[in-house]
């Protein structure tokens, strides 16, 4: 009996100490920890970080100006294969890690600068689509009735078209160019965010704390902006991360078709598109932009997956 008492005393003492020693963990730290505990999140974060680093440090890393035509400045041939000194290329020749493109430019520098364009397209399209979609979805869910009907029917119409086809149609009307391509992709992806936000707001709207806020005198605007929206954005965050990948891919697709970024902009899709006929004679001009797109898209997809797991409290392990 005495022993038992001592054991339990010790136990409770330890528990107390444990509780005291446990420092409060902030929400962000916890999410980061859970993100890093999964391989997909780790790899995704690494790939995104890698692409980001390249985009930020582009002027330092890139040996040439991406738009500089090297004809007359160096002895290079059109679509020359990569020349890497370490792999046995003649030292007397200047190094071109990814070769020379059809217009006598350094492919390596163009790929590096391309990351800037792809990332900015990805982020700006998604922010535009998220802001628009969240706003429309939240309004539809919050007010309901005819407002809901009008907004959601328009979204249904947009969703009814194959997305790339609609984007092509919008660019065809607005004219090709990087800005119009961006707008087209944003419009095409917007309904997904609107739907998701609407569903999320509808469920949060019925929760007790919203009712409690009403009894404490919160106005409808405050209810929507500071109560309902912050509590319904988790799924949107996940979809947006995955959406960046889709946006980059779509933008590359449009550029490939000649509807997005126009030459000589060093955009990966454009580079891919303009050299597609030389796949067999100069594979490096198609291979490297393709790899660059793949790495970026893969990074965002993996990160999005990891983030979804990290933000989902039901997958707590």
């Amino acid at each position: 009996m005495n022993k038992l008492g001592r054991v339990s005393e010790n136990l409770s003492k330890n528990l107390d100490e444990d509780l005291l020693l446990q420092e409060p963990v902030s929400v962000w730290k916890r999410i980061y920890k859970r993100l890093m505990s999964r391989r997909s999140g780790k790899i995704g974060l690494f790939l995104i970080g890698f692409v980001f680093f390249i985009a930020v440090a582009a002027p330092i890393i890139a040996p040439y100006d991406p738009q500089q035509v090297l004809i007359g400045k160096e002895k290079v041939k059109k679509r020359e294969a990569p020349c890497i000194h370490m792999l046995g290329c003649d030292i007397s020749k200047p190094a071109h890690l990814m070769g020379i493109d059809g217009n006598f430019r350094d492919q390596y520098s163009r790929i590096i600068y391309g990351s800037r364009i792809s990332l900015s397209i990805g982020f700006s399209t998604v922010s535009f689509a998220v802001i628009g979609g969240v706003l429309l979805g939240a309004l539809a869910a919050f007010f309901g009735g005819w407002i809901d009907n009008i907004i959601m029917r328009i979204m249904d119409v947009i969703l009814g078209f194959p997305s790339l086809l609609l984007a092509i149609a919008i660019v065809a009307v607005l004219g090709p160019g990087i800005r119009n391509a961006l707008l087209a992709i944003a419009i095409v992806t917007l309904p997904a965010y609107a739907r998701l936000t609407r569903a999320s707001v509808l469920s949060v709207k019925e929760l007790d704390f919203v009712k409690a806020s009403i009894t404490l005198g919160a106005s409808p605007t405050r209810l929507l902006l500071s109560r309902i929206l912050p509590n319904s954005l988790t799924p949107v965050v996940v979809l947006a991360t995955l959406g960046i990948a889709t946006a980059i891919l779509d933008a590359a697709g449009l550029s490939f078709l000649g509807l997005g970024a126009q030459p000589p902009t060093p955009e990966w899709g454009t580079m891919l598109g303009s050299e597609r006929n030389q796949v067999f004679s100069a594979p490096h001009l198609v291979f490297f932009p393709g790899i660059a797109i793949m790495i970026t898209v893969l990074g965002f997809n993996l990160f999005g997956d990891g983030l979804r797991d990290a933000l989902d409290p039901r997958l707590n392990n």
Binding site: F209, K211, A212, I214, T215, A218, P230, N231
Partner: protein, 330 residues
């Protein structure tokens, strides 16, 4: 009691719900009033219309519900007909409400301090810094241990009792005239329950807030109430001072409720339960709504019991009961 001191006066409130085929009446013609510093308890079993009456007063009915008739008079305003912006100003400021489940009544993404302070910013137009100071004061007043560090925590880090204290702090921050508490202690364990109830009485003594306490726990009623309303099937079946109602309950339903409380230490084979079940709101009997479950109808029954809905008979000093059998007694 003089009419002047009545803080809130509910008159003939009838609330209906639209269902698929027809409308059902959830709250049927209830009238009551609360005075300054007084506690009114509304008791009754689940689904008898306690919460719906509170929601009607606050204007929080779900989309399917609507107030068919009646008035809620508060400081020369009829709460049922004031504009929504006026109602916004009153809610949280002059009338507050606390809910059953404290864990889900706080905004999960806002820090406690910001949440409590927000009330001051909304209603008293204080600056952020001032409001946070006031919030800290409120947390101290509701006896939250270590309020400074609690200000910076999120709701999920609080226990149920703590969260309910925060809710009370928020509800009482503008010294409201009326506090509606919808089963504030149901989700808490018994020791916390008594702490919370003590806290409410203490603050009430200081601020003279009128409290409308909705509960199904007669123990809570005995501890807290000045006046009691017993509801059954949307109607008030008995009302009166807490002592009168507890010492000499008149309506068979009230009596049955009292009998069904288990007594600690007394060994009984079976709890006294009320036989039968609450009639569905869309199939109410023509006469007294408790008639089918009434235990006294075996002893004495009047033809009216099955035929007509009894009115509330006033017995003496504010004590009334909706029972045909008892009108002759007095």
């Amino acid at each position: 009691m003089s009419k002047q001191s009545a803080q809130l006066e509910v008159k003939n409130l009838t609330t209906c719900f639209r269902t698929g085929t027809e409308n059902v009446t959830a709250v049927d013609d209830i009238s009551f009033s609360v005075n300054k510093g007084e506690t009114l308890c509304i008791v009754g079993e689940s689904g008898c219309g306690k919460s719906v009456s509170a929601l009607s007063i606050m204007g929080l009915l779900p989309p399917a519900g609507y107030v068919k008739s009646g008035s809620v008079n508060f400081q020369n305003n009829n709460l049922l007909s004031v504009s929504s912006s006026q109602l916004e100003k009153l809610r949280g400021n002059r009338i507050s409400m606390i809910f059953q489940d404290p864990g889900s009544s706080l905004n999960p993404v806002m820090k406690i301090g910001d949440q409590v302070g927000e009330i001051f910013r909304i209603h008293l137009k204080m600056s952020k810094k001032e409001s946070l100071e006031k919030a800290l004061g409120m947390l101290k007043q509701v006896e939250i241990p270590d309020p400074e560090s609690r200000m910076l925590t999120y709701p999920h880090e609080l226990s149920g009792g703590m969260a309910q204290r925060v809710m009370i702090a928020m509800a009482l921050s503008c010294n409201p005239d009326i506090l509606i508490a919808d089963e504030p202690t149901t989700a808490l364990d018994v020791t916390i329950q008594s702490q919370i109830l003590n806290l409410m009485t203490q603050i009430q003594k200081k601020t003279e807030t009128a409290i409308i306490l909705i509960t199904h726990d007669l123990g809570v009623v005995a501890e807290m109430a000045d006046k009691v309303l017993v509801m059954y099937c949307g109607q008030i079946v008995e009302h009166g001072d807490v002592k009168t109602v507890f010492n000499s309950p008149v309506h068979p339903y009230t009596k049955a409720l009292m009998k069904s409380i288990p007594i600690i230490g007394k060994k009984t084979k079976k709890l006294d339960a009320i036989p039968g079940r609450v009639p569905s709101l869309d199939m109410l009997p023509k006469g007294c709504r408790f008639e089918q479950r009434c235990s006294e109808k075996n002893i004495q029954i009047t033809p009216d019991c099955q035929g007509r809905i009894p009115p509330i008979f006033n017995l003496n000093n504010n004590h009334g009961s909706r029972c045909w059998l008892k009108k002759e007694n007095q």
